[in-house]
């Protein structure tokens, strides 16, 4: 069989486009297949791209990439129905190059990344759905598509086909593909006058803000987010699929309740909904990751569960881009060997272990269990808010109680045992130490 391309990359998201970029630069004939009418048209994210990976791969990215805002302010907010406590971090240095995190519309950002791959020599084919793998004696030798005569033979398939990855599952790489690891993200983009937005969020110029919320989703395990674009806000929540199903609540109603919280409502008031969207997120962490490849195939990005949902950190685009670059580096190594690109998966698995992709996920492998635990989700926000309330309530003529006594009193009132609090604290320390 003659090959149409040496490599077919499925999915022009951050993993696929960076893989195609690096493969094309390394001289491989590369086809980048995207099912949407343009790259990014199927993609939704939770707010911040951490761009360090781009410094090496596309050094001019700060001038070229379609960025909305540069995050200089990030808050982690714990909420009860009527209270909130925030850790509000502002770092002006993040607003100057190299930038710590940026916001963007994925419809623009992903298109730009794919265009960079095309400029490097990759062939982008949009509006084409990969429908399956072509196999020969256990080895992946191409993909089928829904175009007439659209089968593509190749020596390597890089599957970056997203959270539902039909290709990784067909290849048998996912022994435990399951809804238990999935959260549903629903997001609203709300248009708001630029001056008004900057005033509400204490921003100037291109500065941006990113707020992450815990305790805002009631009985449903999950969290909320709110971040700024240039002239719009994005507000959303991520909801554990199992809990959402059991709750019988509608996702947009959970989001509406979050938006009506006294700490959130003034931030979104009067802003007009311009786009509502939803997407699944693979939040199982390291233990939910699939086998990363097989002869003739590797898998990267959401398709390989490479998102980190560790409460204080919510990242995915950066892992996807790094994994895509690693897949290309693995192909370069495999090319020099007798077996050729069919052996890419072994190099990819080995190389990825040395990157932050696997190191972060492995080190934080217990983070999803802690962040999604009953204590962190449903006990801790109220505990922290009540302690803060007591601490800052001036109850004259009563004298001020000590902090420890306040904590003990709140714990007693909320029926929180010292054992439960300590157990959660220890689990948290073990994850994040």
């Amino acid at each position: 069989m003659t090959s149409d391309f040496e490599v077919v990359v499925v999915g022009a998201g951050p993993a696929g486009s960076i893989a195609a970029l690096q493969l094309a630069r390394a001289g491989f004939s590369t086809c980048l297949v995207e099912r949407g009418p343009f790259p990014g048209s199927k993609n939704v994210y939770g707010g911040v791209i951490y761009p360090r990976v781009l410094d090496d791969l596309l050094p001019a990215w700060r001038d070229d990439a379609p960025i909305q805002r540069v995050v200089t302010r990030r808050s982690t907010m714990l909420l009860t129905e009527t209270q909130s406590v925030s850790l509000d971090v502002r770092v002006q240095a993040w607003g100057a190059p190299p930038y710590n995190g940026v916001t963007a519309f994925r419809g623009e950002f992903d298109q730009w990344l794919a265009d960079e791959a095309v400029a490097a020599g990759a062939t982008l084919v949009t509006s084409t759905t990969a429908t399956g793998l072509q196999l020969d004696a256990g080895r992946v030798v191409g993909v089928s598509t829904d175009r007439p005569d659209g089968d593509l033979a190749c020596a390597l398939v890089v599957a970056c086909d997203g959270v539902n990855s039909f290709l990784a599952r067909e290849a048998g790489l996912y022994p435990s593909f399951s809804r238990h690891h999935m959260t549903l993200g629903v997001k609203e983009v709300l248009a708001l006058d630029r001056r008004e937005l900057e005033s509400r969020f204490n921003l100037t110029g291109r500065e941006g803000c990113d707020i992450e919320m815990l305790g805002a989703t009631g009985e449903i395990t999950g969290g909320g987010f709110l971040y700024t674009n240039l002239e719009s806000l994005a507000v959303g929540c991520v909801l554990k699929l199992d809990d959402l199903a059991a709750s019988k609540r509608r996702p947009e109603e959970v989001l509406a309740e979050l938006k009506s919280h006294p700490s959130i409502a003034p931030l979104v008031a009067g802003a007009e909904l311009v786009e509502y969207a939803a997407h699944l997120i693979p939040e199982g962490g390291y233990d939910a990751m699939p086998t990363l490849g097989k002869p003739g195939m590797v898998v990267a990005g959401d398709a390989a569960s490479m998102t980190l949902a560790a409460g204080v950190w919510l990242e995915g685009v950066n892992y996807a881009m790094a994994a895509g670059a690693t897949a290309a580096a693995a192909a370069v190594l495999a090319r020099a060997e007798p077996g050729g690109l069919a052996g890419t998966h072994r190099h990819y698995t080995r190389l990825l272990k040395a990157t932050f992709v696997q190191q972060d996920h492995k080190r934080l492998r217990r983070a999803p269990a802690v962040v999604f635990s009953d204590f962190v989700q449903r006990v801790q926000p109220g505990l922290v808010c009540d302690v803060a309330e007591s601490f800052f309530t001036v109850a004259n003529p009563e004298a001020k109680p000590g902090l420890l006594r306040t904590i003990r009193r709140v714990m007693r009132a909320r029926g929180i045992t010292v054992f439960a609090a300590l157990r959660s604290a220890v689990a948290t320390m073990r994850v994040f130490r």
Partner: protein, 100 residues
């Protein structure tokens, strides 16, 4: 009620009208209505962010595929093995997200 009173929630049709769809001629979701009648959870009905599934008084489930975000939640929460067959729509069709 201590919630912010100035809050004005959209109705669902207006919400969905902000999303863009280039509807494919063929359905990418197929539901086995017989299996649904035995389903005790009907989780697809509440979970689907586009509210594409409707419970019928007969116990079955009515669905349409046109305004699908292609998230995959429905088949993942489905309680009756194989009742919902779900795949990606034809290339170029389906949801078009511009500010995702």
């Amino acid at each position: 009620m201590t919630r912010h009173e100035a809050f004005d929630e959209l109705d669902f049709e207006d919400r969905m009208a902000t999303a863009t769809f280039d509807v494919a001629p063929d359905a990418h979701i197929v539901v086995d209505g017989d299996a649904c009648e035995g389903c005790t959870t009907k989780a697809c009905v509440t979970v689907c962010p586009a509210s594409l599934f409707v419970e019928l008084s007969s116990g079955g489930v009515l669905f349409n595929y046109e305004q699908c975000f292609e998230c995959g939640s429905c088949y993942l929460v489905c309680n009756e093995a194989g009742a919902i067959s779900w795949r990606y729509p034809e290339g170029g069709k389906g949801v078009i997200i511009r500010r995702g």
